[in-house]
Structure formats: C-alpha cells, structure tokens
C-alpha cells in the first residue's frame, strides 16, 4: 500500500496550475496510489480541485511543510500504509514513478529512497539546476552505494522508518527540513537511489533574465536553513558527497 503526501501552500494562480498538473500526472500513474493526501497549509489563496481521488486536508493555520507532511504521515500510518511517498506541488511525476519507488523499497533493504529529478523548464537557469543537481539527491562518497540525503520532492520511506523519524517542525519553510530528516534517519537506515523513478520540477523561470531574481532567492532560502542544519548535524561540515545529475546518476554500485 503506497500513499502519496503533497504539502502545498498556494499563493498564486501559477501554484494552482502546478498542483493541477501534478495531480493529472498522479492520475496517470501506471500503478495507482492507494491514497493521495493534499495537505493544504492554510494558503492565502482559496481554490478547489476537480479530482475525486485525493483527500484534501485543509489546515487552519500555516505551520510550514514539515508540519504538513507530519500530518500526512500520521494519517498514512493510521491507514497502515507500507510506503509513504512525498512530492511537491510544483513537480510532475513520470508515469512509472509510484511503481518504481515502491518496487525499489519492496525489493531492497533501504529504509528510504530518492528518485531522479529533472528541471521542467528549458531556460539556462533550468539547465544549471540540472547539471548542478540542485534538487537531486547526494551520493555518499566514495562508494556511491547510498545517498547522503534526498530532497523531499522526490522521496519515499517505509512505514517503519516514518514511525520513528518525522520532519522537524522547527524548520519554518521548505528548506533544510528534508536534509535534516535524512541525516537523522541515516543513523538507523540507508537511503537508496532509484534512477528509474523520474520526476520533473518546475522552478517557475519564464526566461533566463527574468528568472534570475528567483534563482538568487532560491539559494538564499536554502542558505537560511543551513545554520539550523549545522546546529543539528555538524557532520555537514565534512560533507563528503556529490550531487546527482544525469552524468553520474548511473554510477551506482547499489
């Protein structure tokens, strides 16, 4: 039984379009999810979704993506889910995403899994993210047999892992909370990489020039979480890892 959890904070019409596009890709999966939770994190923008296969959970106050995902985790565990998968509203799933993620988790002893993330847009900035591996997992060096961490937009874990490790709600925004979770759960479990579980992430760049400000803000947001991360995980100071991109995605000894 696999359950998909999507936290979302809808601020603009673009966000709604993204969410609808994601849910269409969810609908078109080769292997359907048993449940799909869309956790609405008290968005300032009201909207409705024309999809009857989702459970739309509306939170009364905004608590950040970590809290929204934790609420989804609680509900999924109540439903006795075996595999809990996570993505974000601005992603598009490959048809086989669920199939590949659950197959990987069921056939290996990894506690969690990350998939292959590509940029949806075609600007230079999108190309940058693709080769930089901005939102891809990180290989643990030197062996590249497992992941150091995996961003939560393309992430899944077994129920036994989710019961023990939850997102830390002290991270107020979508930055760092996924890295923190991965580094904690690695104390007991390994995170694997499934290159066949593909998804595309829309960074929202209209073109390379107008998107530059958004590009800078993105990294400022990630940097903002780094002190919290370092406080909890000093091991990051010796971060011996390599971000995944198409050129090293298959260099796997798993």
């Amino acid at each position: 039984m696999s359950i998909l959890i999507i936290p979302c904070l809808i601020r603009t019409k673009w966000d709604i379009n993204c969410l609808q596009r994601l849910l269409i890709s969810v609908q078109n999966q080769s292997k359907q999810f048993d449940k799909v939770y869309v956790i609405e994190d008290a968005s300032p923008f009201s909207y409705s979704l024309p999809f009857n296969f989702i459970e739309h959970i509306r939170l009364s106050r905004n608590g950040g993506p970590a809290r929204a995902r934790n609420i989804g985790i609680d509900k999924a565990l109540e439903q006795n889910a075996q595999y809990l998968l996570f993505t974000d509203h601005d992603c598009i799933l490959d048809k086989q995403w669920n199939e590949q993620m659950t197959l990987f988790l069921s056939q290996t002893d990894f506690g969690a899994v990350g998939g292959m993330t590509y940029s949806w847009g075609k600007t230079l900035l999108d190309y940058y993210h693709d080769i930089n591996g901005t939102l891809s997992g990180k290989w643990l060096l030197p062996d590249k047999k497992e992941l150091w961490y995996m961003p939560s937009l393309n992430f899944g874990m077994k129920a036994e892992v989710a019961k023990q490790f939850r997102f830390d709600e002290k991270f107020p925004t979508a930055a760092g909370e996924d890295v923190d979770l991965c580094l904690r759960l690695r104390s007991k479990y390994k995170i694997g990489f499934c290159v066949k579980a593909k998804l595309w992430h829309d960074y929202g760049y209209k073109n390379s020039l107008s998107g530059f400000k958004r590009f800078v803000k993105l990294f400022m947001k990630y940097k903002s979480s780094s002190a919290t991360l370092y406080e909890g995980h000093t091991v990051l100071l010796w971060d011996s890892s390599e971000s995944i991109y198409s050129g090293n995605a298959h260099v796997t000894n798993i």
Partner: protein
C-alpha cells in the same frame, strides 16, 4: 575543521578562498556538456557559491523559533561574600563593562528565538536601574525574564516597578538558620533578606521563586527551606553545588552524575559583563572551548552564533556530560513559566 581555537577563525586567507572557489568550480565545469554555456554557467555557480559563503541568514532560522535562553551575567560584583561561590573575589573594573544599550541591541536581535532571558551575576541588583530597563525591553519584546538575586538589595520601589513587567524574581536561599547565615553568606543580613522575601511574595505573588544550592554543607538545611516555601506557597527548586570558586563540597549525589541525560545547555546564549559570548558559562570546562566565541562590541551577535566554531562547541556540549548539566540552565524547557 580544526577544533583548535584560532582567534581569527572567521578571517579566512585569500589562498583559502581561492582553493574553496576552485574546489567548487572545477568539478562543476566538468559537468557542462554544452561548452558555449560555460561562462554563464560558471557565473551562476559563482552566485550560488557566494550566497552560501557570505549571505547571513535571518536569525529566526538560526536555531528555530523560541528555542534559546539568553543569559546575561551583568556583573561579577557582589555585596555578599558567600563561601559557596568565588565570583565576587574578582569584580570587574568599570572600564570592562559594556553599555546597557549593547546588551539591549543583542536582546532585540535575538528575541524571536528566545523563550527566556535570565539576568545573573554577581548580584544583578547592584545595577537595579539596568535590570529594570532590561525588564521593560523584554516585556515589549514579549520575552519572559528571570532575575536571580541574593535578596539583600530588594526594595519595595523595585518590586513595584518590576511587578509591572510580570517577570520572575528568583531569590537564593540556602538556610533558615540565622546562626549559619554569616558562615554561608559572609554578611549579616538574615533579617533583611527574610523580610524582603515576605515583601516580594506580597507584591510579586507567584512570580517570586526561591532557589537553593544542595551541598554537603546544606544537606540538613534544604528540607527546612522547602518547608518554609511550601508554607508561603512559593515555588522552590534546588540544584547541586558546582565549583565556581567556592569552598563548599558536593553532597555525593553520584547517582545524578552517572545519569546519561543529554546536556541541554547548548540552547543557551550567554553574554558576560564585558560582552564576551559563550554557549554556557561553564563551557571552559571543555578543553577546546576555553576562549569566548566572540564579543558583541566587536561583532554582531548573529555573526558570532553563525561561526562554525560555535556549531562545533554546541555539538561537543551535547555529550559533554559534565556535572554542571544539573544546573537549572540546563533544563531543556522553560523552568518557571506560568
């Protein structure tokens, strides 16, 4: 990263900067297949590298929201001469003291992260006006405040003003016996302190607390202090004796010290009377953390807390397992908050 403290830790050399930059750029450039994009992509990577290197995070994201206690040792001076403590033996000269506005600035920078600010010493009420000013500012910022005092300098005027801010006053009391008072405190003001406690109870109500030091010397006195507090409806806590230059002895509570409770003092941000910042007043017991993290007169408090060395000491403190972890400042959650 070296754990050996370097005074100029944050001042990296040019060669270190170049090595760091090239260490990022060379592997990245090898990933670029479309060579016509080499320069713009290297430019973008440089932007990313610069942000990670120099952009300072908003304080709210440093340690989460309201997870820290700011402790200000406002002075080393004291009007008592307690045998349990040696801090009073080395009072600071006026020239070493920071201005009140420097601490207030620090408080304002951090208030979103604080669940509590604590004023300690020495005897804080030697600087009564400063304490009231900090109390007023803390109230404006909605941060609960604690003042730990020996109780001898309390006045009705102070209590009335302090009660307006709805903060907590903690009075230190180790014995109920007048005959032991001089031996414990080195001053003959038993009657004064006891009457001040009664007055404070009347004016502050539940916001008065009493704290005792549990030592070999006070093992028979603490139960009597507890009874006294119970009769007056005052919350009482005790903490084991620690060596701060005093001559008392611990009460051999070895079962406490063997406990594997995690040290929570890493949540603390401590500022000395001279502006030096440490993570814990006792962290000099950690051999590699004997120097302060910085000084708020020379650096912004956020910069001090953002240093890698601060992070490293914080990590060391988590498992330091020193006896001082039993002090009240190590309690993970707010202690007396109503």
């Amino acid at each position: 990263m070296s754990l050996i403290y370097r005074r100029k830790f944050n001042q990296s050399s040019l060669s270190h900067l170049i090595n760091d930059y090239m260490g990022e750029m060379v592997p990245f450039s090898k990933r670029i297949e479309k060579k016509r994009f080499l320069i713009p992509l290297i430019f973008l990577k440089t932007i990313e590298w610069s942000i990670y290197r120099w952009y300072k995070s908003p304080v709210r994201r440093l340690y989460g929201v309201r997870r820290n206690e700011l402790i200000y040792m406002i002075t080393r001076r004291c009007n008592d001469r307690c045998s349990k403590c040696g801090i009073w033996k080395t009072p600071e000269p006026d020239s070493e003291r920071i201005n009140l506005k420097d601490f207030i600035k620090c408080l304002q920078s951090l208030h979103n992260n604080l669940y509590q600010v604590t004023i300690t010493g020495g005897e804080p009420l030697l600087f009564m006006e400063d304490v009231l000013h900090i109390a007023e500012e803390s109230r404006k910022l909605n941060v609960p405040m604690f003042v730990v005092t020996n109780g001898s300098l309390i006045t009705e005027d102070f209590l009335v003003k302090y009660s307006n801010f709805e903060h907590i006053l903690v009075v230190s009391l180790d014995t109920m016996e007048k005959s032991k008072w001089n031996e414990f405190r080195g001053r003959n003001h038993y009657d004064k302190v006891m009457s001040n406690i009664l007055l404070a109870r009347k004016i502050l109500g539940d916001r008065l607390k009493i704290q005792s030091v549990f030592a070999y010397e006070t093992r028979d006195d603490i139960p009597k202090v507890k009874t006294f507090c119970d009769e007056l409806g005052i919350q009482h806590t005790s903490q084991p004796y620690m060596d701060f230059g005093g001559v008392w002895h611990d009460a051999n509570v070895s079962s406490l010290l063997d406990n594997d409770m995690v040290c929570a003092a890493r949540k603390n941000i401590c500022v000395y009377y001279n502006g030096d910042v440490v993570k814990c007043f006792d962290h000099l017991r950690i051999p590699l953390a004997r120097e302060p993290l910085g000084n708020i007169l020379k650096e912004d408090i956020i910069s001090i807390l953002s240093k890698k060395r601060t992070t490293e000491i914080t990590r060391l403190m988590k498992n330091c397992n020193l006896p001082c972890k039993w002090l009240s400042c190590n309690i993970p959650e707010p202690q007396f908050l109503s």
